[in-house]
């Protein structure tokens, strides 16, 4: 076991990631045995559809958690993005391209708002994101006059945006998600912003005393998160068509669960995009499996809750051991 842990391959990929991938495969096998027809394409598509939007949410929150912060507004903000831009498309008849940009822009604005308060006003991230969660719900609700919004179907005018998820039978969404994750990994590991985010997440004061403008980089982490939440909103409506005001809380927990399961430390400073990707697949598979088993959504809520606690506790244990 020790030898396995110390081999070059395992060190590069990360022991945690390998275990997690094993869990994912095991879950798939169990569901396939337990549920008749789970191997069929409909359940696979169901899982993938869930992966797309949740994946982008989870990638976004990975940047924030890497700074040692947290964002509980991502779910409702995602809905707010989809509601406002969808309303503009449906009621003001803006072109779809504008609606798409608008959707990402709303996410960006929330990211800037959260980031500014956290970085420049030193308001705790927990409070900021709780507040902006409510602001996002309220704003979307007022803007759409508490109606739910349906985005156009593939064959309708403006329906071209759905090709981000599916082109014919080809799962375009999977490609885009993996490309997005790869870009995030490069940002986190190979650019200045990623370096500063991880370092300040680990020891903000030491980074400040090295002459780095920590406030700027801290805010940028939230901005990146905001953009990714806007993108997540597009994938959500491209798969599920309709969004309602006052929704989205549950996706916070699922996105955060995917992220911390993958080895991103709640204490900040350590993050793994690869881990987040596998974590998201596990959450998506779990929700599809539970649905297929005919269990209530509530069961999934409980399991997600337990996953977050176990994952965070594992991180706490790992850090204790390092000390």
């Amino acid at each position: 076991m020790e030898k396995f842990k110390n081999s070059a391959f395992v060190k590069k990929v990360g022991f945690n990631r390998i275990v997690l991938a094993g869990v994912l495969i095991l879950m798939y096998v169990i569901f396939s045995v337990a549920i008749k027809g789970f191997l069929g394409s409909s359940h696979l598509m169901g899982t993938l559809n869930y992966v797309y939007f949740l994946g982008f949410l989870s990638l976004g929150v990975t940047f924030v958690i890497a700074t040692g912060g947290i964002d509980f507004s991502i779910g409702p903000v995602m809905f707010c993005c989809a509601l406002i831009s969808g309303y503009c498309f449906g009621t003001y008849h803006v072109p779809m391209a504008v609606a798409v940009i608008l959707c990402i822009l709303v996410g960006l604005l929330f990211g800037m708002f959260n980031g500014y308060l956290v970085a420049y006003w030193d308001v705790p991230p927990f409070i900021v994101s709780m507040a902006s969660m409510n602001i996002a719900k309220g704003a979307a609700s007022i803007f759409t006059k508490t109606q739910s919004i349906s985005w156009p179907r593939a064959e309708e005018a403006g329906g071209w945006f759905r090709s981000i998820v599916k082109v014919g039978d080809f799962p375009m969404g999977l490609i885009l998600f993996l490309v997005g994750a790869a870009i995030c990994a490069v940002i986190l590991n190979n650019t200045r912003i990623g370096r500063y985010i991880l370092c300040l997440g680990s020891n903000k004061e030491a980074v400040r005393l090295s002459g780095v403008n920590v406030r700027k980089w801290l805010m940028l982490a939230y901005v990146i998160c905001g953009i990714l939440v806007g993108i997540a909103a597009l994938f959500f409506v491209a798969t599920y068509t309709t969004v309602q005001p006052n929704y989205g809380d549950q996706y916070n927990n699922e996105a955060i669960a995917g992220c911390v399961m993958g080895g991103t430390s709640m204490a900040g400073g350590l993050a793994s995009i690869g881990g987040t990707v596998i974590g998201v697949f596990i959450i998506a598979l779990l929700q599809e499996g539970i649905l297929a088993l005919g269990l209530a959504k509530d069961v999934q809520l409980i399991i997600t809750g337990v996953i977050v606690i176990v994952a965070v506790y594992a991180d706490v244990l790992a850090r204790r051991r390092r000390k």
Partner: protein
């Protein structure tokens, strides 16, 4: 003076790498005020922590009221009648005076807290101390001096027989100190044993009966206060053999240009009107006791803390430094006294730490050039002789001395001309210490200018070309190395500013 109440014999205590207490003696009588003196790191606090059960001793005996005693925590010590009044006050600002005094042992009537009884009891305590404080006042509305008196009231409410004052006067005004002394005399009348830790020489003369001096974790001696002079005490405090030869004369030519000039700097209470100059190739020592304001001065110059007023000139040009970013831009590097908190990012690699201050130089396009970065880190691993298997090693896995080298490497990679070393050798072993000294000398000879803050007299005398001495936020003197002696420095470092 009454009979003996407390005796500590042959107390020995080691921490990894440090022999903190080496067979130390101490005794205290009833009705006595006994001063405990020594430089920073002499072992005063450790000895008191052993007494009150915060640390356990390795060997030795504590005899309290004629019986051998051992306390495992402060609560046990408190119950036996030994209490400590800390330098930092431990009060809850939003509670009343009475609530603070009886916190954790509130009077109850049924399930309700009996506030009236607590107020009455507080009044009795204050009467006993002959002071007037309203027990229903909110703690945060009191002055620091009054708050301290509440601490004392809290202490005597434990029916204590021994009170330890740990630098009680540090935050007090002169009037408040007088009041404090009146109380201490009262307590002495009530036959309590009082241990008084302070750096202020004239206070020691005024209030104490005996003085015990410690040095480097050893017991030096005990004097009757009225029979000795300030000089006697200073000599005992510093009279150690100097193992390393002090620098004989400055290595800086008289006409070396001024690279940094700090003019009438004010920043909070700890930096008052501080001015000094740093020459090219010079090592400027900053000496003083704990809390003299040296670190605060360095942080204000570096822009880490805000300053109220004062100008900074670099190479004769006035510069605005409002953040570490500005300071680094002007070529100043700061090595903090607290490496782990302010110096390194321990969970990151040596490479990542080395380029933290100048990552911009290692960017190609939008990507970090990791090969170039690693090359720089490896250059300085070799140059500073850092012990590590590779540049990818996480800093957390390095020893203190090697971590310090990583911080130095960070500023050398950035090519800073002015380096502020704040306690550069604190907590690192002798071998690594010598390496750091050699390195500083080399840097100075290469034309870098260094400010070295140190609480170790030896280090100051061995390394500095010139010495600035601070006391309580003010600069109290400046000595050329040729004229500096331990006694002169200690005299200026303990000078009281009225």
């Amino acid at each position: 003076m009454g009979e003996e109440i407390l005796r500590m014999e042959e107390i020995d205590k080691s921490f990894p790498g440090v022999h903190a207490l080496d067979h130390v003696h101490f005794n205290l009588n009833r009705g006595e005020v006994h001063a405990l003196m020594g430089e920073n790191g002499a072992g005063k606090s450790t000895l008191m922590k052993v007494l009150t059960g915060i640390y356990s001793k390795d060997s030795g005996k504590i005899i309290y009221e004629g019986k051998e005693a051992e306390f495992h925590n402060t609560r046990e010590a408190q119950e036996a009648g030994i209490v400590i009044v800390h330098q930092e006050l431990n009060m809850v600002g939003d509670l009343t005076v009475a609530q603070n005094i009886f916190i954790g042992r509130e009077f109850m009537s049924g399930i309700k807290i009996n506030d009236r009884k607590m107020v009455e009891e507080s009044k009795k305590l204050f009467d006993r101390l002959h002071i007037e404080i309203n027990p229903t006042e909110k703690m945060s509305n009191l002055t620091v001096g009054k708050q301290q008196m509440c601490e004392i009231a809290k202490a005597i409410s434990h029916e204590c027989k021994v009170i330890i004052f740990d630098e009680p006067s540090a935050a007090l005004t002169e009037k408040e100190i007088d009041d404090l002394f009146t109380i201490i005399r009262d307590l002495r009348e009530q036959n309590m044993g009082i241990i008084y830790i302070s750096h202020r020489m004239d206070e020691i003369k005024v209030i104490t009966d005996r003085v015990t001096v410690m040095r480097d974790g050893t017991y030096v001696g005990t004097l009757i206060t009225k029979d000795c002079t300030k000089d006697d005490i200073v000599k005992m405090m510093v009279g150690r053999v100097i193992y390393e030869q002090p620098k004989e004369k400055s290595l800086v030519p008289d006409d070396a240009p001024v690279v940094l000039k700090v003019d009438h700097l004010n920043a909070g209470k700890m930096v008052q009107d501080v001015s000094f100059e740093l020459h090219k190739g010079e090592i400027l020592g900053f000496s003083g006791l704990m809390g003299a304001g040296r670190t605060e001065t360095a942080r204000a110059v570096f822009g880490a803390d805000p300053k109220q007023s004062g100008d900074i000139y670099i190479n004769g040009k006035k510069v605005e430094i409002n953040s570490p970013e500005d300071a680094v831009h002007h070529g100043i590097g700061y090595l903090s006294e607290d490496r782990k908190r302010y110096g390194v990012v321990v969970q990151k690699s040596i490479t990542e730490n080395s380029t933290l201050a100048c990552l911009d130089d290692y960017i190609s396009g939008i990507f970090i050039n990791k090969a170039k970065e690693k090359e720089a880190a490896e250059t300085y691993i070799k140059e500073l002789d850092t012990k590590t298997p590779s540049a990818d090693q996480l800093v957390v896995n390095l020893s203190g001395g090697n971590q310090q080298k990583i911080v130095i490497a960070k500023w050398l990679v950035k090519n800073c001309d002015i380096l502020i070393f704040d306690e550069p050798t604190r907590g690192i072993d002798v071998g690594a210490k010598n390496e750091i000294y050699k390195l500083m000398n080399r840097l100075a000879s290469e034309g870098k200018s260094i400010i070295m803050i140190s609480s170790e007299m030896q280090e100051i005398l061995r390394m500095s070309d010139r010495i600035v001495i601070m006391c309580e936020g003010k600069k109290t003197g400046e000595l050329k190395i040729e004229e500096a002696t331990q006694e002169k420095i200690m005299d200026k470092a303990t000078r009281d500013i009225k």
